[in-house]
């Protein structure tokens, strides 16, 4: 009993006697070992669970944050005997995997006594190379260099471009022999990039304007053509002017190009309009890297995805998740809180309350997907279909509310989280001492007044706890949303300039679904994998924070009423 119940050491002498007979030494030892074993094994289970949590958090943090950290660009010589690359290569090493079987170790690795491993290289240049990710056997150390002029160009399409910044008249050849005069070229390029940025903004404005006018014309078809000048919303000349402007801007943009020397000696042209950022990862110091890392993190949080969701940010998904969850909160809070108040304050405990409690318990146990099926069948097809028939008949057969959308998703999630709110609120109500209610009633307040002025204010933290837990649950739920309104890519946020400022019928993006979709259905799985880790990290961070908040609130609540309980 060394470890198990050390404090109960004094029980030992009694152990030697059982049923009136002294136990043999062997039996005593066995008993002690048994006790020890169960203590240790159950302790191991607890620590295994903890270990799993830590490992998972660590994995997410490393993989998710590693995505933003600029990795160095390595130039690999082909004569290093790598399997999988026969030309000079400039790449980022994404993963290193140790290889156990000796057969696979490369000649170079054996010669230079490098531990056998395989590297996943990101070559980039999806538009110029057959594959942008390759597995190679680890090259020898001498074959790896970090050329200063290596450049990583983040683009709006085709993934990143990796190469050397080439002079206008660079001769194809081995990159190290022909170092590009980057220093002279770079300020010029920077200036051009700034210009392109400005042009792009202008273009975006013009395009937006054009879309607005076109949409206005679609809403009132033919007016501009029939009554120019009188009722016209869209002067045709204005539209024409816009498209001329647009074409001009596009032409101007197309003029800006940069030349990049690829690792295999080719020189390719890259339109600057497509360039997001030009980075020289090998020349950066720690501070610069950190800055770039933060910049990318901000980009991730604040911009839209691009390139089939494999690059860019997740802002629409964050926005969609938040909108959905807020809408859900608005729907679920009154119902859940009032139901809990009824159960705890009003109802006589009897069959009715028992029935409601059973209902709540069962709602909590129903798989989330069943809510999704119900939402799809009932909200979308039945309620939505009816709404369309009454209110939006002119748009039929294309459905307005009769198709999955934000409102239905929020309603479905509200049902899903109803039990969480009810249970948490009831728990909070139970903690409020009876004496307070009785005091209020004795002073002549009605039950409603007691409720609104005494009970509910005191139960606010409990309600908040319930709501936060509900939000945490809803934010992580994906399965039901797949049926009632989430999409992989929604160009527009579900907000609009007109009342009610929220397009309830619109489909939306969601962080959780984004993980599923990009992780499993992306056309560029290797390229988008880090992004999925980052998204997962974001989602987990949000939900863990919400949960911690709820735990803290609850603890606070318990402390607050501890003194009143007796």
């Amino acid at each position: 009993m060394s470890g198990g119940a050390g404090e109960r050491e004094h029980t030992r002498p009694a152990l030697l006697v059982a049923r009136g007979r002294p136990l043999s030494r062997w039996r005593v030892l066995l008993l002690a070992l048994q006790g020890d074993a169960i203590v240790w094994l159950s302790g191991a289970a607890a620590s295994l669970a903890l270990l799993a949590v830590c490992m998972l958090l660590l994995l997410l943090a490393v993989q998710g944050l590693g995505h933003f950290w600029p990795r160095p660009l390595l130039a690999l010589q082909p004569e290093a005997g790598m399997q999988g690359a026969d030309r000079p290569v400039l790449a980022q090493v994404m993963r290193r995997v140790a290889v156990h079987a000796d057969g696979e170790a490369s000649a170079a690795a054996q010669r230079d006594q490098v531990p056998p491993a395989r590297w996943l290289l990101r070559l980039g240049n999806r538009d110029h190379l057959p594959a942008d990710f390759v597995w190679v056997s680890a090259p020898a150390a001498w074959a790896v260099s970090r050329p200063e002029s290596a450049v990583l160009i983040e683009r709006r399409s085709w993934g990143p471009m990796i190469g050397y910044l080439a002079p206008a008249d660079a001769v194809p050849g081995l990159p190290d022999d022909a170092p590009a005069p980057v220093a002279e070229r770079w300020p010029e390029l920077e200036r051009q990039l700034a210009q392109v940025q400005r042009l792009r903004q202008e273009l975006a404005f013009v395009e937006g304007e054009q879309a607005r006018w076109l949409a206005a014309e679609l809403d009132a078809p033919g007016r501009s053509a029939v009554h120019p000048g009188t009722e016209s919303l869209v002067p045709p000349s204005h539209l024409a002017q816009l498209s001329v402007q647009r074409a001009e801007l596009q032409r101007a943009l197309a003029q800006y190009r940069m030349q990049v020397l690829l690792a295999d000696g080719r020189i390719v042209e890259q339109p600057l309009a497509d360039v997001v950022r030009v980075v020289f990862p090998n020349r950066m110091g720690f501070a610069e890297r950190l800055l770039l890392c933060l910049e990318r993190l901000w980009e991730f949080l604040a911009t839209s995805p691009r390139d089939a969701n494999s690059e860019g940010g997740v802002f629409p998904a964050i926005f969609g998740t938040v909108t959905l969850v807020l809408l859900m909160s608005v729907l679920v809070t009154p119902m859940g809180v009032f139901a809990a108040v009824y159960l705890h304050e009003y109802a006589r405990q009897g069959p009715m309350t028992r029935l409601i409690r059973i209902a709540v318990n069962n709602l909590a146990g129903v798989p989330s997907l069943v809510y999704g099926v119900f939402g799809l069948g009932f909200f979308v097809y039945v309620v939505g279909g009816e709404l369309d028939a009454w209110l939006f008949a002119e748009r039929l057969p294309s459905p307005t509310f009769g198709t999955p959308g934000l409102l239905w998703a929020a309603l479905t999630l509200a049902l899903l989280t109803l039990p969480v709110v009810v249970v948490a609120t009831e728990e909070g109500l139970a903690r409020i001492p009876r004496s307070l209610r009785e005091g209020s009633l004795a002073l002549g307040a009605t039950r409603a007044e007691t409720l609104w002025r005494v009970v509910l204010p005191m139960a606010t933290p409990a309600m908040l706890t319930g709501l936060i837990l509900a939000i945490a649950r809803a934010a992580g739920e994906v399965a039901p949303l797949m049926l009632v309104g989430v999409v992989k890519l929604a160009d527009d946020l579900p907000v609009g300039p007109e009342f009610p400022w929220l397009n309830l019928e619109q489909k939306f993006m969601h962080l959780g679904f984004h993980i599923y979709d990009v992780g499993f259905q992306s056309p560029h799985p290797d390229a988008s994998r880090p992004l999925v880790y980052a998204t997962a990290l974001l989602l987990v961070a949000i939900i863990v924070l919400l949960n911690l908040l709820a735990i803290l609130l609850r603890a606070h609540l318990r402390e607050k009423y501890k003194s009143m309980d007796t």
């Binding site: 060394s2 470890g3 119940a5 050390g6 029980t11 009694a14 059982a18 008993l31 002690a32 048994q34 006790g35 074993a37 094994l41 159950s42 302790g43 191991a44 289970a45 607890a46 295994l48 669970a49 903890l50 799993a52 949590v53 998972l56 156990h100 139901a339 108040v341 009824y342 009003y346 209902a359 069962n362 709602l363 129903v366 798989p367 989330s368 997907l369 069943v370 099926v373 119900f374 009932f378 049902l415 009605t446 409603a448 007044e449 609104w452 002025r453 945490a472 934010a475 992580g476 739920e477 994906v478 399965a479 797949m482 049926l483 959780g512 679904f513 993980i515 499993f520 989602l539 987990v540």
Partner: protein
């Protein structure tokens, strides 16, 4: 507070009363709303599923004189005699083949027609038998798919619906029997004509309308059989589908070729659901319960206050994240380190006990404080697991003859799918552990301290106290925890969806994939067209899922209440 209440006095009494009444009504309405929601959910699911069981309906539409409208070009004519498939499809099987193989005698055939897709041949014979043949995939021979239950009828003409695989067998005197290509049951038997014979029969699949010409009059009937392809039997029992050598239970909601039959068997999905849940519980139950026992019974209070939320934090992980990690990170790792993963459950307990032995020899001064084992074990376990995983190639050489997958194949005949039940069990176990842990921990913790102290005072060891006093007392709670965990595992969607190959197989081994009810719904419901059989079968599977979890949760609750009553006096 008192000032506010004093202000209330200013309001007229009737307004205060009205407010009070309205308030009560509001609260009642909310509570009733909750109840209504549950009833509505269940009711709606049942209501959506019920049409599946609706019988085939036939209603007379009256008659039309010949020559009115575009009647002559209307619908499909009945097949009398033998009609082979249209020229643009290549039928798998012809009547001549059946004749050659001795399955039937050609001269006895009254009518024969191909079912849509031209893979199956329907043959009516003069003795009244109506049989469906298809080519066996195993050999070139023909195989009898099913013999329809025609009873005393002697069909002379066949009408085959080109889309629905509906079979209308007509007798000369107007007796109509309706079958469906995937079921042998008789769906409808009706005498259409009061007297005489019909001269011509036509069927329109668009209008779902049957027309029989008798002299100069067309008689019209409407036949409604929207969900004839499913029955209790096709959903749960083996069905002999065309292209299969024997009856099988298959889920394949979209036909593999045009005109093919969709295969709605829920059995493999239910099987997959339970398989995933059971493997998950295999993983989650020991860890969850053991961790709960330790945390509640052995652990010191300050540590418990930190560890319990720590493990409960696992519940906060969205399942989509777990599924993603399981499918894209864990599955390849498990595949790579399979020997170590297989041996880990065998190696970890001895490893822990070894540590315990080492700890016994520590000098008394360094004795481990009570209830802090997990903290000490944390680095040891991490080290152990790391060592075990890095020794995977060694294990592979030692125990699995150099190649674990070949070994599995040779010894047990098992194939290895990368996304398999083992991976799902681990990932879903991770999701279920906190549920099991949390409830079981509460149960163990709520055992009155006096009881275990009494037991210890009487000289029982910690182990004896645990098995003799604490666990029996906490058993209802632990059982309830396991049941609720199982309920959660049954309904889990995203992990199963992402970490299995979603292959609707019925294999029990942990190295094959599976498809669960929930994952199936998540995949197919967004594409299913409302009101179709597919859509309703998906609703049915949601209802089945609802029923399973309802049963499991209710059982858990019932056992908990029963056993709580038993121990209430304590």
């Amino acid at each position: 507070m008192s000032r506010r209440l004093a202000l209330l006095e200013d309001r007229p009494g009737w307004r205060r009363q009205l407010f009070d009444r309205a308030n009560s009504a509001l609260m009642l309405a909310a509570a009733a709303g909750v109840l209504l929601t549950v009833v509505l959910m269940l009711g709606f699911l049942v209501w959506s599923v019920l049409p599946l069981a609706s019988p085939v309906q036939l209603s007379a539409l009256g008659s039309l004189p010949v020559g009115s409208g575009r009647l002559e070009a209307w619908g499909e004519p009945a097949v009398q005699g033998v009609r082979e498939a249209p020229a643009d499809t290549v039928p798998d099987l012809r009547l001549a083949d059946l004749h050659e193989q001795g399955q039937l005698q050609r001269q006895r055939v009254v009518a024969a027609a191909h079912l849509p897709g031209a893979r199956a041949l329907l043959v009516a014979e003069d003795n009244g038998s109506l049989r469906l043949f298809a080519r066996s995939p195993a050999d070139a021979g023909a195989v009898l798919l099913r013999r329809f239950e025609t009873g005393s009828a002697r069909a002379t003409a066949l009408l085959v619906d080109p889309r629905q695989r509906l079979i209308l067998a007509l007798q000369r005197d107007g007796r109509l029997q309706v079958f469906h290509g995937t079921r042998s049951e008789l769906l409808l038997d009706a005498q259409l004509l009061p007297a005489g014979h019909w001269d011509e029969a036509r069927w329109s699949t668009d209008a779902q309308e049957l027309r029989l010409r008798q002299g100069q009059q067309w008689q019209r009937w409407q036949l409604r059989a929207p969900h004839a392809e499913v029955s209790w039997r096709t959903l749960w029992q083996p069905v002999h589908y065309e292209g299969y050598p024997e009856p099988a239970m298959i889920w394949q909601s979209t036909a593999a070729y045009e005109g093919g039959e969709s295969k709605f068997s829920l059995t493999p999905l239910v099987f997959g659901t339970f398989k995933a849940a059971l493997y998950c519980m295999l993983f989650a139950a020991p860890i969850g319960v053991a961790a709960a026992i330790y945390t509640a019974y052995f652990m010191g209070r300050p540590l418990r206050r930190a560890v319990k939320p720590g493990i409960e934090l696992m519940e906060a992980f969205p399942t989509v994240v777990l599924g993603f990690i399981a499918g894209l990170w864990l599955a390849p790792q498990v595949e790579r380190l399979l020997p170590a993963v297989l041996l880990l459950p065998l190696l970890l307990p001895p490893g822990v006990l070894l540590f315990a032995l080492l700890a016994r020899w520590l000098p008394a001064r360094l004795r481990i404080p009570v209830g802090s084992h997990p903290l000490l074990l944390l680095p040891w376990l991490a080290l152990l697991i790391y060592l075990c995983l890095s020794a995977a190639p060694l294990f592979e050489q030692l125990f699995f003859a150099g190649d674990v997958r070949a070994w599995l194949q040779r010894e047990f005949g098992l194939g290895y799918a990368q996304r398999n039940t083992l991976v799902v069990g681990m990932a879903m176990g991770f999701a279920v552990i906190p549920t099991v842990f949390s409830i079981a921990e509460d149960a163990v913790f709520s055992v009155p301290r006096a009881l275990s102290d009494g037991s210890l005072a009487l000289g029982a060891t910690a182990w004896q106290t645990l098995t003799g006093v604490v666990l029996p007392m906490a058993s209802p709670g632990i059982f309830s925890a396991l049941m609720i965990g199982l309920g959660r595992a049954l309904g889990e969607t995203m992990i199963v969806l992402m970490a299995t190959g979603n292959t609707a197989l019925m294999q029990t081994d942990p190295f094959s994939g599976l498809r669960s009810l929930a994952a199936n719904i998540a995949m197919e419901a967004p594409e299913a067209i409302a009101g179709t059989t597919h859509f309703r079968v998906l609703f049915l599977s949601a209802l089945v899922l609802f029923a399973f979890t309802f049963a499991v949760n209710t059982l858990a609750e019932w056992v908990r209440l029963r056993l709580r009553q038993r121990y209430a006096s304590l």
